[in-house]
């Protein structure tokens, strides 16, 4: 039987196809809990989970907190504005201080890519990545995979277009890792200023010259948010021009397969990367993604508690 052998979940790059399939299967079966009157199981009773967020987040932090509570774990939320990092404490020192209070899992979001590997070396508890810089966002990647699997029943052979600011997108990196490991074909498109040099090295992906080429006959169109907080000022002339060349609207969505799924990790800049007609349209699966987020995060919290297998 498949077993989950990792203490930490930092990047989908570190997981095998089997690991990812196990997490998705557990998430599918945990979904039932979320539709009950009593949305709670006693599984992680007595476990303490710290949500340590160095960057703003509504969806991810709430989703992790709800996931932990549905499994009966105790949660503590720490955000930058209220933490000692504003007094100059280093991440390493914060980690050791938190560890002294004996948590079982630290869920962290941090602006620096790779900071979770640093954290995992410092602490003995489990570490889950809730987003690190422009590196990975594994829980988002997994919930996207689950949402696609719900619709198509498989991931093998799907054509998935990812459009937008690839350079700064951890969502894109996690999706590329997960999708290619499970046999989907990934096509990337975005302004040349937002496409990393040698983007092909992100995985076995096809880099397209235009948005049209990427979404042609796609099963899934995933739009990325324009990350103004991570960009310099010079990557695009203005939002209107971006929207004209790389925005999804009912017209260019017709290029994709009939009934193709439209996805977005949120928060959405309406009218920039997507028109409101598409956001609220029948092909949009954006709220379904959020719904699946809770189940996926429950599966992640559950399986990391199994600890590392030598």
């Amino acid at each position: 039987m498949a077993e989950f052998k990792h203490r930490n979940i930092i990047a989908l790059r570190d997981l095998t196809r089997g690991d990812i399939e196990l997490l998705l299967a557990t998430a599918e079966n945990m979904r039932e809990i979320n539709s009950r009157d009593i949305k709670k199981v006693p599984t992680l009773r007595g476990k303490t989970i710290i949500n340590l967020f160095y960057e703003a987040s509504t969806r991810t932090r709430t989703s992790f907190e709800i996931a932990a509570k549905r499994l009966s774990a105790d949660t503590v939320n720490i955000s930058t504005s209220t933490s000692s990092s504003t007094k100059g404490e280093t991440l390493g020192d914060t980690a050791l201080n938190l560890l002294a209070m004996k948590p079982d899992i630290i869920v962290m979001r941090h602006a620096v890519s790779g900071s979770h590997y640093h954290l995992a070396q410092k602490v003995t508890c489990s570490v889950i990545n809730a987003g690190d810089g422009a590196h990975e966002h594994p829980s988002q990647g997994l919930l996207d995979l689950l949402t696609m699997k719900d619709k198509f029943g498989r991931l093998d052979g799907l054509k998935v277009a990812i459009v937008g600011d690839i350079t700064h997108s951890r969502v894109a990196r996690s999706n590329i890792q997960g999708l290619t490991k499970l046999g989907s074909h990934v096509y990337l498109a975005g302004p040349p200023t937002m496409m990393p040099p040698e983007a092909e090295r992100l995985g076995s992906v096809t880099v397209c010259a235009s948005m049209k080429e990427a979404i042609q006959d796609a099963d899934v169109v995933m739009m990325l948010r324009i990350q103004q907080e991570r960009q310099g000022k010079t990557l695009m002339p203005n939002a209107r021009e971006y929207s004209r060349y790389f925005g999804l609207n009912p017209e260019n969505l017709k290029l994709a397969k009939p009934g193709a799924m439209v996805m977005h990790p949120g928060p959405i800049n309406r009218g920039v990367e997507m028109s409101s007609y598409v956001v609220d349209g029948s092909q949009s699966h954006i709220l379904k993604q959020v719904e699946n987020g809770v189940a996926v995060r429950m599966a992640m919290l559950y399986h990391v508690c199994g600890g590392e297998l030598e």
Partner: protein, 178 residues
């Protein structure tokens, strides 16, 4: 089959035991009104389907069948178990006011039954819960007993009792492993 295995019940033996249990369930509950069967994954869930078929033949009335996975409710959840997949709980109806017959293949320490009852309570408040098992092998660690038993088998703690199913999830035989 190796030498240290004994067959306790063969296919027709299992069938007779399940038929008798079905009659007893109907007798105790005076028919199938408000009765639902919930099987504990995986063996109990398969047996619940068999009992439902047999009740349909005897009474001409269908009973609702659900299944419960108790992984998330175990009291012996060591870190090892957390690495394993979680099974699916499928109860497509309300348990409010129902007479629930919980079905398991082998009754041993009673801890599985405790976990299953906790899981059921999270799905509503049944009028009562009754327990049907194919084999009762003794060694209870909790104050739990079965209402309907296929066969009582005295065992030692070193032995293992297993209900073997075929690929269509129908019970084939019950073996005692020494």
């Amino acid at each position: 089959m190796t030498e240290n295995m004994t067959v306790l019940l063969d296919e027709s033996g299992i069938k007779r035991a399940l038929t008798r249990i079905s009659h007893e369930i109907l007798e105790r509950n005076k028919g199938v009104r408000d009765v639902v069967l919930i099987g504990i994954r995986s063996g109990g869930a398969f047996l619940a389907e068999e009992i439902a078929k047999s009740i349909a033949i005897i009474e001409g009335d269908a009973v609702q069948v659900g299944s419960v996975d108790i992984t998330l409710y175990r009291d012996d959840i060591k870190s090892h178990a957390l690495r394993l997949p979680v099974g699916k709980t499928e109860i497509g109806f309300s348990l409010q006011g129902k007479k629930v017959v919980l079905v398991d293949d082998v009754l041993f320490t009673g801890r599985t039954i405790r976990a299953a009852m906790d899981a059921l309570m999270d799905h509503g408040r049944p009028e009562c819960i009754q327990l049907a098992v194919l084999i009762d092998r003794g060694h209870r660690e909790l104050p739990i007993r079965a209402d309907f038993v296929g066969r009582n088998v005295p065992t030692s703690l070193k032995e293992n009792v297993q209900v073997v199913f075929n690929e269509q999830n129908q019970p084939l035989e019950v073996v005692l492993e020494k």
